[in-house]
Symmetry: C2
Subunit: 588 residues, 2 copies
């Protein structure tokens, strides 16, 4: 039950398709080769399968607990032990720079590790996910003291980080933040306010917790332009890194949630808490984006995590459960022999492969944007990462819900029984389209900042690569029809991009009404392109990756399946332009 | 929280579009007019909103409980009280014949009432749903004693009925049933075996429980042809209807489920229980279909119930929650003013309308098949009901999951918090695609029994009606484009039907691989056709139904929205023929 076997071969294949070889040629990774990558993946895969995964059901059942008197939050001991092994293995900082004590691996390797952690225990994986995002923020915006003292302790896992944005009246609209920060005589700030939905906002797994908090300073401009970012530690931090007294930040409640029960979702109250400014005054939103962007990608990866775990459970069940007759099999057949069960499993497998590729490609764009020796290339990959981030956050998380649901369906009646464990996937999956910016917010970000702002230039670069895949596939016998199907989605994606660019300025409402459809269209087109690229690659070099003709056949079938099941039903221009219908009039 | 207002106007509009006026002209309903129908709907709507809905969260939170020592099962007192009011109002038998003490209303009216009950408390509504299905079974197959004694007590609600099919090794494959029935000297039978997933299999809400049980008799043929149906009461029933001793059937466990927590899902153990044969020996499957068919439609209706309740909650939240700016609104705008939120709400509203129409049309086909004075018409409507039943079971339940999920999304972070109540919809919704024959089984039933067996004749009759709607819509300015979009789905549905008919005999595996896609294609085509028909009807007579131009506009927008969002993305021929890909090779 809830067994998880890290799919190292699949992950390695996806990393190569996504372009890790280009990343490993960058100067910072000169000492790392493909073998070293595989070794760390193997090492973490073992930890995820043997140590972390067995804690998943316990965490779901028992959940996080708040002691109301003391305000202390605890999780089941099994999770604390697993987390300690994770920290001891040096995994928190695997993707952080060596100079701050990190492992020095590319972000995409950290992404693959995060995927495995999420499959093994999604709720627990949120803790280092936020710490790692805090590391990215402090790498970019931390002052000397923060870089010297806080950063290494986050990287080595002795402390953890949190992200404090949301307030009761300020969710998607951060301009409405009311928490305040008032300067003190010693150059620090007094922070007051209430933050909600703070993931791992209080716990007993680490020596200190570093809260990164958006707040408004006296006489700051209204809206997002008046928000600044503050580092508020749970325990005061002396200049030598020693911990002092408890700071004025306390957990006032835990949410009772649909899923990710082991992750304490806290109401945090800041009462005259002492904080330090991070980044420029009134530059809080910009600084926080350094944390939000990696977190958005990481949440997208959760869609992969859940789908992988759900797939493994569904496939195992379908192999063991016998029901009904199938020609050529004596007695009751394993249900995996029934065509409709195969259809469901192949839908999960092919979509999961596509979303894994999408998230890895996004991470790789980030690696190349950060470390490519050529400035133009860095800029080009930054455009790519910016464009892909909303896709990589939204599409895999929406699909994760759908695929978890499909995995429940494979289980039949057993799927609805909590002890089976698959229902937890369905519950856990549901948060991912919501947090770190709802998928609707991602779609607005896409059409506004990522498409309209550069008049579709970054999208055109990406879609040109899709065209190359169409051309390559059309020369490959088994993929000729897929090439036609991909080309059709591509044509719609081009038309839709033009339409968004043309209309965003003067008819924004219409564009926003179809923004999610546009995001889905772009994502499914890119996903299909990546799956085809993977099939072409595996077919060209079967021995390198999947290691067999069966592997090639699998990759080809998945591309074919995805094409008829998803590319052919890509969102139409009608769906993208749905905002031209007076939507409000259809609602009573 | 979890407030529910019965949408009587919407239901009445849908009933008229679906064809209730034709039903009310049938001889058995001579005394019932549209006003009487509205009165009973109003009456039940009040009960559902004021008495039943307030019990929904309590039932979810506290659930059903088994006292292990006594085997007694109880539900929270609030639910017992609500159920008693339901019984006292005579609602259980509202659709049963007057001669047995029923209300004499058409099945479609009972269907609308069942929809409202399901919106108010899905878990509780399962209890009368099974009783009503048992009534249909006994009306058709009951002997004189069963008709005289059991039937009236089910109809007046003093007893309840259950459906006992599944065993640990016999779920979708009923041929594997192992429960046994051995004849006794007095013409009765001794039943032994274990049945699982028995909904409301034990409880304290009624004087007796009548279990309808599939079991195998000595020397019966193997498979489904050797199964017979038995009536096994909880308490023995004397010939005067008086209750005797406890029979040998006991609840040995309750399942811990993802949702519908207030509905006790029992493991029932039959130990030398005394039963009576119902219907012919070895004719159990056929007899049980008299219970399964109404239950399948009723489960389909649950998709409507959940979507209606979810829509009401999401719309209320979107009206009250303020976040972000919208031109023309001072301060933070209610999120219903944001285009993407409107898109989600309109998706829920239009799809819900379509599924409501589909289930009502199916119920009306049953009414006409049962009571039309002309034998040819009865046969024609029976074909129609048979064809529509798998569609009406599957499509609304799949969509119910999707729409419940979308309603969670409208709530943002609040959606993931259990206290908000919308998460319960997401959990409850997930069972409907599974029970009463998984949606995969429905698709097999569709392509095999409903399409291939009559070479697509019933489907052709239905699709000809869709063509009439296309023709009518093409003359209506606002619906001209929708007509084109519907016509495209119709063309694919015709091609797909031909393909299924041609290939079912010699390439069944290929057909079964795409059976769910074919079902979806047919369902979305019919759903679009019904929505357009409703828009045409409301536009022609706005005063009769929705009562205003706003009502017309709403119906038109919903048809337009459904067309671009769903008809345009209808499953393609590629998806229907996906079984021609070697699916198994794509799975590792």
């Amino acid at each position: 039950m809830n067994q998880y076997h890290a799919p190292i071969d699949d992950i390695v294949t996806a990393l190569h398709t996504a372009g890790i070889d280009e990343v490993l040629q960058l100067p910072p990774f000169a000492d790392i080769n493909a073998g070293a990558v595989r070794d760390v993946l193997d090492g973490f895969g073992k930890l995820a399968g043997e140590v972390v995964a067995p804690t998943d059901r316990i965490g779901d059942r028992e959940g996080a607990r708040l002691d109301a008197a003391s305000g202390a939050v605890s999780v089941p001991q099994e999770l604390a032990d697993a987390y300690q092994q994770y920290v001891d293995g040096g995994w928190v900082g695997i993707g952080a720079p060596v100079e701050h004590g990190g492992g020095g691996f590319p972000k995409v390797v950290a992404t693959a590790i995060h995927e495995m952690f999420g499959s093994a225990n999604l709720a627990l994986s949120l803790n280092p996910m936020l710490t790692q995002s805090a590391v990215e923020l402090l790498e970019r915006w931390g002052n000397a003291r923060q870089t010297a003292i806080v950063l290494p302790r986050l990287i080595d896992g002795s402390w953890t980080g949190t992200m404090n944005l949301t307030e009761p009246d300020s969710g998607s609209d951060l301009g409405a933040v009311r928490a305040t920060a008032v300067p003190t005589d010693d150059g620090r700030w007094t922070v007051n306010g209430t933050k909600i939905y703070i993931t791992w906002g209080e716990h007993d797994l680490a020596g200190n917790i570093v809260h990164l908090v958006l707040a408004r300073t006296p006489e700051a401009p209204a809206g997002t332009k008046g928000i600044s970012l503050f580092l508020v530690p749970r325990f005061h931090i002396a200049d030598d890194g020693q911990l002092g007294e408890r700071n004025g930040v306390h957990c006032r409640g835990l949410e009772h949630k649909l899923g990710i029960n082991a992750s304490p979702t806290c109401v945090l109250e800041f009462v005259d808490a002492v904080g330090e400014l991070v980044g420029p005054l009134h530059g809080g939103m910009n600084a926080m984006f350094s944390m939000m962007n990696p977190a958005r990608l990481a949440v997208g990866v959760q869609g992969v995590s859940i789908s992988e775990a759900a797939y493994q459970q569904a496939r195992t069940y379908a192999t063991e459960r016998r029901q009904g007759r199938v020609a050529g099999i004596d007695g009751s057949a394993p249900i995996i022999e029934h065509p409709d069960v195969q259809r469901m499993l192949l839908d999960i497998a092919s979509t999961r492969d596509a979303m894994r590729l999408l998230t890895y490609v996004t991470a790789i764009a980030g690696d190349l944007a950060g470390s490519h020796p050529d400035a133009d290339e860095r800029a080009r990959f930054q455009r790519r990462a910016d464009l892909l981030t909303p896709l990589a956050k939204s599409w895999p998380t929406d699909q994760g819900v759908r695929l978890a649901s499909l995995s429940v369906q494979v289980h039949g009646g057993m799927g609805f029984i909590e002890e089976t464990g698959i229902a937890q996937r369905y519950r856990d999956a549901r948060i991912a389209p919501i947090y770190e910016g709802t998928n609707g917010i991602q779609a607005i970000d896409l059409v506004g900042r990522k498409i309209a702002q550069d008049a579709g230039a970054a999208a055109a670069e990406l879609l040109d690569e899709v065209q190359q895949t169409v051309d390559a596939a059309s020369l490959h016998g088994d993929l000729g029809e897929v090439a036609v199907q991909l080309a059709a989605a591509l044509a719609t994606a081009r038309s839709a991009t033009d339409w968004v660019v043309e209309h965003f300025g003067h008819d924004r409402t219409a564009v926003l009404g179809g923004a999610c459809a546009y995001l889905d269209l772009l994502a499914v087109t890119v996903a299909g392109h990546l799956l085809v690229r993977q099939a072409l690659r595996v077919a060209a070099a079967p021995v390198l990756d999947a290691g067999s003709d069966a592997g090639t056949d699998r990759a080809v079938r998945r591309a074919q399946f995805f094409a008829v099941q998803h590319l052919l039903q890509h969102p139409s221009m009608g769906a993208v332009t749905v905002g031209t219908i007076r939507l409000r009039d259809g609602i009573d």
